[in-house]
């Protein structure tokens, strides 16, 4: 019986990764293949120990497991927000997407006072933009509209 499900599934993921790395390394020149082969073989063995250990120990109470599931909603929403940010960054530019991201993050975490939410988002993005773009010269992405205007 699997006791530590997390360890078990992680060891499965690692095993797949090791097999993939080991198999792919045969397409490399021999000098480039040795190290991936050694390290993936070692990881495979260690992952085997982890899988073995995942069958040992005490079972987690089902009540506790149910409570943990509930906690993930906000984190999943945040991850989706980060993914959307990375997808839209080059299209909408740094200022718009980052403003939206800061607002969204604070909102998802649970803050609801709109005035401070908006002020913090605008001020923090403005200060960071000024520091990175204007003072340090980091070319932060511009929106497609700005790119069209600039030609």
């Amino acid at each position: 019986m699997i006791v530590r499900k997390g360890d078990f599934y992680f060891s499965l993921v690692l095993d797949f990764l090791c097999v993939f790395v080991f198999a792919m390394s045969f397409s490399f020149p021999s000098e480039a293949a040795i190290f991936p082969q050694i390290s993936s073989a070692l990881l495979f063995v260690l992952s085997g120990f982890l899988m073995f250990n995942s069958f040992k120990g005490k079972q987690v109470a089902p009540k506790e497991a149910k409570r943990e599931k509930f906690q993930y909603t906000s984190a999943v929403l945040l991850i989706l927000g980060f993914v959307a940010y990375a997808l839209l960054l080059n299209f909408l530019g740094y200022i718009i997407t980052t403003l939206a991201l800061v607002y969204y993050t604070i909102f998802v975490i649970g803050y609801r006072k709109q005035k401070w939410l908006i002020v913090t988002s605008i001020v923090s993005v403005a200060v960071t933009y000024a520091l990175f773009r204007l003072v340090l010269g980091v070319p932060l992405p511009v929106s497609f509209i700005a790119r069209l205007i600039q030609g």
């Binding site: 792919m24 020149p29 906000s74 649970g110 960071t128 980091v138 992405p141």
Partner: protein
């Protein structure tokens, strides 16, 4: 020699040279404190600008940046759990926990005093022992470097405590991931899937920002569901006293000395790197303070890495100044800075341009002294402005710094993806009690290990005995074995005790 040292310090009395050093320290502190920016980027941008300057002014400016950036990185590490530079990654472990306990001021104070101590210690080494130590460092060939990398990784595994297997797995996973990119020996692209950005491997800084910054924001979302945020809020806003008192100084002195020595030794060995030094120093501090639970906000956990990383700064100049061989990528930039001024680093620098050689050494010493008050002032300013922010709003600022920092490394959205991916993986693994922190050092040391393994095997015509016939390599391997076996031995002893009980 003393005459030359006096000559170096004498030049710093010139107002423009001193102002350049002062300005460099301020710039270094700021770029270090901004995630995504570091000393190498800033110096690389500034070196062409220094072309028109007097050599003394130009070098004082660059030394100031190099000295302070490393310390600057500890400020966001302590206050926000985002390492400002890669060298402050270990500082997050205890520094941020101290902030959560309402001891952010003390954490910043310890970080500052430790950095100044480490910096001054290595400046003295650079001043008096440079030529002797540089020759010792040259005794390191491929087998010794390979064994050194093994020792570095074994310290990370040793840091694991009870979860030895998990730490070992994550370390080896780091080695597997380090094979992404061009192979060091033949330059063959591996596991890049046609993505140009992966040719240099997984970018370190975005990965670190993800591991620490993104993960902490995601974990905060869980905290809210547990209604723990209001409790956490009570202490986090406190800054408390900054400078450690006499009792604390006495307590930290052994850590400073050990970590400073580790930093100096690692710094002198070309290519060994700052990250290895901070992990080794943290590991040593942990081993010497077995009664303290590291990772829960222990002052020694901040003092050890901060002393070691600043000790690496000046000591990485030892091989450069004495032999013309750079200790790391940042000190390599000094070659460019010196050559742009018509000088060549190495033994001839001391003979042909003693005023410049000793000015650099003196600037490292004075730069560290300047870093103390300036660092405390910046730390106080940042803590008073950042920590007073509402905890919810602060997390918006954290994510803002994370994405901007990750993007700024190479001006690429790809690095933002790396940050998100590693942040999510770390968050998920934390849920099943895996920490991704041990992945960092193997990821950095992987290419060094691979290259030196292959070079060693070529030298020995395929015989693995080369690692045991060199006394230095053998010594390093024995130490590695001890590091690895110590937690196993401890676990066996504890099991026996439990059985008896």
């Amino acid at each position: 020699m003393l005459e030359n040292i006096a000559l170096g310090f004498g030049q710093l009395l010139h107002p423009t040279v001193f102002i350049a050093l002062f300005f460099g320290v301020v710039v270094g502190l700021i770029v270090g404190a901004l995630p995504g920016l570091n000393d190498s980027i800033t110096m690389a941008v500034l070196i062409p600008v220094t072309f028109g300057m007097d050599p003394q002014i130009a070098l004082a400016l660059l030394v100031g940046i190099y000295v302070a950036a490393c310390y600057g990185g500890s400020i966001p590490a302590i206050l926000l759990n985002i390492p400002g530079t890669a060298s402050s990654v270990v500082t997050c472990l205890d520094g941020y926990k101290m902030t959560q306990k309402g001891q952010s001021g003390l954490a910043l104070g310890i970080s500052t005093t430790s950095s100044v101590f480490g910096g001054l210690y290595s400046s003295l080494v650079l001043m008096f022992l440079a030529p002797f130590l540089a020759i010792q460092a040259l005794r390191f060939g491929p087998p010794e470097y390979f064994s050194l990398a093994i020792m570095g990784i074994s310290t990370v595994v040793g840091m694991a405590g009870k979860d030895l297997l998990k730490s070992l797995i994550i370390s080896v996973l780091g080695l597997v991931i380090s094979t992404i990119g061009m192979s060091p020996q033949v330059g063959y692209p591996r596991f890049t899937f046609g993505i140009d950005y992966l040719y240099d491997g997984i970018p370190l800084v975005p990965m670190l920002i993800g591991l620490f910054g993104v993960t902490s924001v995601l974990e905060l979302a869980d905290t809210i569901k547990n209604d723990l945020l209001s409790k956490a809020n009570l202490d986090i806003k406190k800054i408390g006293r900054m400078l450690p008192d006499k009792k604390m100084v006495k307590r930290l002195l052994p850590v400073w000395l050990t970590s400073g020595t580790i930093g100096n030794i690692i710094g002198i060995i070309p290519g060994a790197g700052m990250i290895m030094a901070i992990y080794m120093a943290y590991d040593q501090a942990k081993r010497r303070n077995k009664d303290k639970e590291f990772g829960t906000g222990i002052p020694e956990g901040v003092a050890a890495p901060e002393t070691a990383n600043n000790a690496v700064v000046a000591s990485s100049m030892v091989p450069l100044m004495a032999l013309g061989v750079p200790g790391n990528s940042t000190s390599a930039l000094f070659i460019g800075a010196l050559m742009i001024q018509g000088m060549r680093p190495g033994p001839s620098l001391f003979k042909d341009f003693p005023e410049v050689a000793y000015l650099i050494i003196a600037a490292f010493f004075v730069g560290n002294l300047l870093m103390g008050p300036l660092g405390l002032a910046l730390g106080k300013f940042m803590s008073s402005s950042i920590l007073r922010l509402n905890r919810y709003l602060l997390n918006g600022v954290i994510i803002l710094l994370c994405v901007t920092g990750a993007y700024s490394v190479r001006n690429s959205t790809f690095d933002v993806w790396i940050m998100i991916i590693f942040g999510v993986i770390s968050y998920v693994l934390n849920k099943i009690k895996f920490s991704l922190t041990p992945i960092i050092l193997p990821l950095i040391l992987g290419p060094m290990m691979e290259q030196n393994l292959q070079q060693s095997l070529i030298l020995s015509k395929g015989s693995w005995s080369i690692f045991f016939t060199s006394p230095i390599s053998l010594g390093l391997l024995i130490v590695s074995a001890l590091f690895l076996l110590a937690p196993v031995w401890k676990a066996i002893k504890e099991k026996r005790k439990a059985k008896v009980a």
